[in-house]
Amino acid sequence: MSHRFFLRPQGYVPFIALVFFAFSPFLLQNPFYLNIFILTIFYAALGSAWNIIGGYGGQLSIGHAAFFGIGAYTSTLLYVQLGLSPWYGMFLGALLSTGVAAIVGYPSFRLRGPFFALSTIAFGEVLHLVALNWRSLTKGAEGISIQFKPAMSNMLFVNKLSYVYLILGFLFFILGVVLKIERSRFGYYLLALREDEDAARVIGVNTTRVKLLALMISAFFTSLGGTFYAQYYLLIDPYILFSIEFSFQLALVSIIGGVGTALGPIIGSLLLTPLGEFLRATLGGKHQGIHWIIYAAILLLVVRFIPQGIIEGMKKKYQYLLSLLPDFRFEKKDSSPKSDHEK
């Protein structure tokens, strides 16, 4: 892949999309839309993190809110109590989450399929109860609020655009890691594990180690997302941070978009998050839960009719679109009669 890659439609279409994506916040002056943009990227990023273990590894976790919560609480407590910058706090939180993932994951990975999912729910609920009842540390249900003192070192900004680029950078970083994993030996181990765990073991994949590593990477990024949440909303409480709904939403964007694909969570979030936010904004007060009704209905339809996710349906159309676009590598066209002749 050289600079010539960007002359082909396969190269320049994603590039243009990326540039458009990165600059689109400038076009969105309205804080309401900016907020939706931020949340869309936020769920895309955390969905991608979930996707590493849940999608590629096929280990369905409905307890990822736990890592999210650990990240948010660690950085916030360190910042509020000790004045430590969230830039450091977020990595300490992420390391803590990674450690917890290793300790909890090791025994849990003896379970398979729905039983693993059950154990992750139990894990998430235990942390929820801890956060709720350890009042001296977490202030319980009241939650902890962060004073708004905008400064780079406090990871607090007046301009919403700063948050946009912070989370966008985060998404690109996770995406890079995911693509790296996808092309690595480790990625193939994960796929083998998902397709048939016993077969993977037989051919010599240390499945426990692979699962554990995937969970730890996933927990690390989920936890970083927790810090972002705290810095953006300035209030953390156990009901949101450790909720099953939150864990489910991370899984949901991946499932709808396409599990075990790099772009799946992004497509899922692009579809679901703005939809959910609009519904909440227009119908929110009167009709609670409406966006969940629609999410769940979409999920049931996707599971029934396109279990591979929306990305599967889009692939062909995308390829067709690419075939219509011009190729700018004039001197080396594969389809030219000359090259046919040379053969």
Binding site: E125, N133, G289, W292, I293, V303
Partner: protein
């Protein structure tokens, strides 16, 4: 420590444990026969509670009498869910089943929230706060009824599974669906039947709970987690396990609520749950069908 207080706590735990067992029975039946972990089971219970609530509230039908309506209604509901949602994806991987049942749970919970608001509702019957005195102990009447009815239904289902042709067909399907199919059992119909029975049981549990428990859209989430603890403790797919698991968890919950703190009682059985899942995943009475 007063001995009487402890016995009183144990009685309370056993009584509610009976209802837990009835709820868990459905989960274990669906898993054992259809091979699906029904995460939406708590929402079925929630609907059962609302059904009895509305029948009482709008038509003045006594909750115990409403069982006559709730049972066939929920049987049909279960059959419909299995037919429309799970039957088409039975051959898909477990992951898909989990997504579907979790999606169903979220859907039902939020439909309830949408139509009936998050208000906590309860009904006042003449016997809601009635207590019977047995020696030194007080026994709440609606809880006693719930316990007796739950145990009765479980015994009835046990008899049905052991001694009738259809019951044997259900057990055969549970042991080996392909072999059962080869023996001429219409396994698809058995799946529908199992789902229907499980749904009817949890609907009845809802009707039994409503005289002394309040209902709100997410009430199922609380009960279903308890039920999963029970099912895992008793052994996935085991009826006997669900029964004794229910009683054990009922007592543990009551004891930890009394001796430690209400806030931590859930924490305690999550920890139990976790340890059983990991160190004895077949539970107390389970067969190993854990792949």
């Amino acid at each position: 420590m007063a001995m009487e207080a402890i016995i009183q706590v144990i009685i309370g735990g056993l009584l509610i444990g009976g209802v837990y067992a009835l709820i868990s029975l459905g989960i274990t039946l669906i898993w054992g026969v259809v091979g699906i972990v029904n995460f939406a089971h708590g929402e079925f219970l929630m609907l059962g509670m609302y059904a009895s609530y509305w029948l009482f509230h709008l038509m003045g039908i006594d909750p115990y009498l409403s069982i006559l309506i709730v049972t066939p209604l929920f049987f049909l509901f279960g059959v419909l869910i299995q037919r429309a949602i799970f039957q088409p994806i039975l051959d898909a991987p477990h992951l898909t089943h989990v997504f579907a049942s979790f999606g169903l749970a979220i859907l039902l919970q939020n439909l309830a929230l949408f139509f009936w608001s998050p208000d906590v509702r309860s009904i006042k019957t003449t016997y809601s706060s009635l207590s019977l005195r047995a020696g030194d102990f007080m026994i709440s009447f609606p809880r006693l009824v719930a316990f007796v009815a739950a145990v009765g239904i479980m015994l009835g289902i046990h008899y049905f599974l052991k001694n009738t042709y259809t019951g044997r067909a259900i057990r055969a399907t549970s042991q080996d669906p392909s072999a059962a199919l080869l023996m001429g059992i219409n396994t698809k119909r058995i799946f529908l039947l199992a789902f229907g029975i499980a749904s009817a049981c949890v609907g009845i549990a809802g009707a039994l709970l409503i005289p002394f428990y309040y209902v709100f859209p997410s009430v199922g989430a609380y009960f279903v987690l308890t039920a999963f603890v029970i099912v895992v403790l008793g052994g996935m797919g085991s009826m006997t396990g669900a029964f004794f698991g229910g009683l054990i968890i009922g007592v543990i919950e009551a004891m930890s609520g009394y001796f430690i703190s209400i806030a931590f009682k859930e924490g305690i059985y999550y920890i139990i749950f976790w340890f059983i899942l990991i160190y004895k995943p077949t539970g107390l009475f389970g067969r190993a069908r854990l792949s």
